[in-house]
Symmetry: C2
């Protein structure tokens, strides 16, 4: 029903120098990189730069780094030095209570920026875990700030990224505080499909990268409730679900269930 690998591999096709790792013998996971010919540019970098500016911007990103499925890009308490732009793969960010409860605070995909939580205290305040083998661009925050002072358009872009994250979290608070299970899951699916569509994927079919438990953690419900709500949607003919393969049959019905907040 859905090609399980299409989402990831579309971006694995990006080329970079074959000998890149050779210049960083101490860390084979580090890879040299240039934004100016990255096809995710519009997703993670400001638009409307001239050639000179693009060349300078290349210096923001120093190298790349690979993270295996289940691996931590960073963990709570790690010193913060850099932001990361996701190139391929999916991540979750999460915080934990002392007694081991986990709250997923977001799912991130290609082109999205991760690590903003670390700026305030120079330490990361959450964990970033790869949901599948992933590759990120390393953007040392010193560089970002330095170039931001030089390029107002980059400065504005950085501010917008942070503001977008604040607004996104406002929306999650609304979900968690005011909405019922069906509304939460509808909102989640609509958001996911919208972001995938912006990356050139189908508006209707996709593969979930996370478990029912992780979805539940994000949406403040138990995995059984997530599963039951999927089944309910399926019985109602709104979606087709088979394990992690999802096909949206009736997006309008989903939108109706998710009484959309005026603030989106």
């Amino acid at each position: 029903m859905v090609d399980a690998n299409a989402q990831s591999e579309a971006y694995n096709a990006i080329t970079y120098p074959e000998n890149a790792t050779a210049s960083y013998p101490m860390n084979p996971e580090m890879i040299k990189v240039a934004c100016s010919n990255c096809n995710l540019r519009e997703l993670c970098m400001p638009v409307g730069l001239n050639h000179d500016e693009m060349v300078k911007l290349d210096h923001v990103v120093s190298t790349r780094k690979r993270v295996k499925q289940g691996g931590h890009l960073f963990s709570h308490g790690d010193p913060f030095t850099t932001l990361y732009a996701i190139r391929t793969g999916y991540f979750k960010t999460c915080v934990n209570t002392e007694d081991g409860r986990e709250q997923v605070t977001g799912f991130q995909m290609a082109g999205e920026i991760i690590g903003l939580d670390g700026i305030v205290s120079d330490k990361h305040n959450c964990n970033a875990v790869a949901l599948e083998d992933a590759e990120v661009c390393i953007m040392p925050f010193e560089n970002v700030e330095e170039l931001s002072r030089e390029f107002p358009v980059l400065q504005r872009h950085v501010h917008k990224i942070m503001s977008r994250e604040i607004v996104r979290e406002n929306g999650v608070m609304m979900l968690l505080g005011n909405m019922r299970a069906e509304e939460r899951l509808a909102a989640f699916l609509l958001n996911l499909v919208q972001r995938l569509h912006a990356r050139g994927f189908s508006q209707s079919e996709f593969v979930l990268r996370m478990t029912r438990e992780e979805i539940g953690s994000y949406l403040g419900m138990k995995l059984e409730t997530v599963s039951r709500t999927f089944s309910k949607f399926s019985e109602d003919g709104i979606i087709e679900v088979k394990q992690r393969n999802v096909k949206i049959i009736n997006p309008e019905a989903l939108k109706q269930i998710y009484n959309p907040q005026t603030c989106t």
Copy 2:
């Protein structure tokens, strides 16, 4: 048991030119202002600036504005042009669903910055409502960005403020997604008292500026549950409550109830 007005009036004592409003005849709510002698400086501005830098920073803040209790500092959809630093009074920020449900996304007090939600789309994405008569400093975002490019210390400060908001919201997501009513209220009270203490108020006694319903909206529970939980804490000898007056008798017990996340 608690002096209901102390919190507000402590900051009303700040002086500013008596004839300030006269220079803005078109809008008597606008008041000229200087940060360099504002006693909230350390709360809303970076520390470690020399005299010249301070003078320049004064230009970030153009004027002040008063908002009456219940008045909107800004509303969802309003064009975004400026950040606001709260000088006196308390605010809530909230978002609404189409069908009228409200989610309070935060309570803000003196020295805190409000309006970051507007940067991403040049429109405000939430409402800011004064919980009591309030006064804010207007900081046109153009000015903030311009001076940020000039002063790395201000730039870093702005980034930290935005990052802090992201981390705060992560914590609220944890509350809403994983915690029970008692844990939520304990966390809320501890956070409030900590912020008030940082402003020179008592660590134990304070006056709530918001209704049970607003607390409930913030914490994802109904006003009756908020009230019952207050009563429970009171019966257990952890706090004393009378209407909006709260006295914390046993802060350790509160901390124990609020199984603190490792991420704070």
